[in-house]
Symmetry: C2
Subunit: 252 residues, 2 copies
DNA sequence: TCGAGTCGGATCGTATACGACTGCCTGCCC
DNA sequence: GGGCAGGCAGTCGTATACGATCCGACTCGA
């Protein structure tokens, strides 16, 4: 729902896209490229001047970015690029694990052999890209692999959320695999397992679980690498532990 | 992420909220109340005149509504209330089943006894509301019950999506229980089961599955009641079926 | 009678203008 | 020296104005 249109045609000759759209794309690109770092102050007038347009389209673009969580906005004060901390990345990954797992399971029974073949082919390209490793292309291929798998998911709403979360992640961090290169190898192996599960008609619960664990594992690897002190804690952490914690304080 | 602020204070004396915000609230309310039916043409100037403001705030409100999927917008043509079909409702319910299940599981280990007591109390009120049944209040209490359960979920992003989906559902349909009154009784029973699972420290997977099935069952009941011909088909439909379908046509 | 071209109204897209609010800096008073 | 009040610059919020675009209807000719 959120990231709907993202410039159908950039602009060839005529200004096919509206100025608001151009402003949106321009800002989103700058933020993604970290040219506008988190906390950076976005002044409507300045941006408008830089883009050769009035403040009105810029304003609209900023409000859209705000709705997507890329920038924060304070009334009568102004907009600034949202502060992104590590926990946001973790949360998005965790959420994506849930969404993607469900989407993959829902799509599993609708995958034709041609699509499975295509998924394998993408995975082969992933393997090939392991030598001469480039995190960015690896992430792109990785996304393509998963996209093939959950594309036939009959629930467009779920797909929408998955896509939104993917792009959100992309803006939070260019590629996880840049941080934990070792994870890439393991990842492609898990890909093959997931494809095999789908192919053999494994129970949907099992497929969902595998897909979810696959992503959670990437997150865990990242956390272990960057923050060795953090607890792993992902959706599949099913340690029974104590039945209930005692009430720490008030009702809430 | 989408439905962030929804009017902190309506407006007592001073226009605390901006006009854009007022326009947004006003439009959202009208759409929810079906006063603006799906397909209804939203003309900026007219609405602005009716609200005693210029088109600019109205425009912004409409764009926000567009971002949330409530209205569609066509350039140089105008906005109209989004056409909502039954499948959207189904998809939202299905998605919410996934999200809520995950959130509940993630929150389970963090629920203190006080919160469980509170959940049970809300459920008691649900039981009480069964006689002299009002679908609207039942839905509100139902939401409160679940909110208590997943509130301690440590993943704010996931909670955000759950909340967004709840409000989306609320706008698609006031209350499911208005359509399938019989489902309400069953629902409160399942509530107790979920609380018991959490209390006894059942595996997280089991809690998640129960929470998900709980919502899926509501959807199934609705579908069976309204569209007896539709297949049930929900996330837990784990019928093994054939391993893979043959490729129906091209690669895609 | 039917089609194509043209005209007009309706609506949006953007620019410009002005008022309102916020935060900071300066200067005064204690 | 510290604290508070006032002023000032920077921004946003909204109104108004005008050009651009689209859609429907009307007219004119074959």
């Amino acid at each position: 729902m959120t990231a709907a249109r993202t410039a159908p045609a950039p602009d060839d000759a005529a200004p096919a896209a509206s100025k608001s759209q151009r402003a949106y794309d321009w800002l989103a690109a700058r933020i993604a490229r970290r040219e506008y770092a988190p906390g950076y102050r976005l002044v409507l007038g300045t941006i408008g001047a830089e883009l050769g347009m009035s403040v009105v389209p810029v304003r609209e673009a900023v409000r859209r970015l705000e709705a997507e969580g890329l920038v924060t906005f304070e009334r009568n004060v102004g907009a600034r690029v949202a502060m992104i901390d590590d926990s946001q990345y973790r949360q998005s990954m965790e959420t994506l694990a849930v969404l993607e797992g469900a989407a993959t399971a829902l799509a599993a029974r609708r995958l034709a052999v041609a699509e499975l073949r295509r998924a394998r082919e993408v995975n082969r390209r992933l393997v090939a890209s392991l030598e001469d490793f480039d995190p960015h292309t690896f992430t792109a291929l990785n996304q393509e692999f998963h996209a093939v798998l959950f594309a036939p998911c009959p629930n467009p709403r779920l797909l929408e959320l998955v896509t939104a979360e993917w792009s959100r992640l992309g803006r939070l961090r260019d590629s996880t695999f840049a941080f934990v290169p070792g994870r890439a190898q393991e990842s492609v192996r898990e890909h093959e397992e997931i494809v095999a599960l789908i192919e053999t008609g494994a129970p949907l619960a099992e497929i969902e679980s595998a897909a979810r664990r696959h992503r959670s594992a990437t997150l865990t690897a990242y956390l272990a690498h960057e923050h060795p002190d953090d607890a792993p804690h992902h959706p599949d952490d099913a340690a029974p532990a104590a039945p209930v914690r005692p009430s720490p304080g008030g009702t809430r």
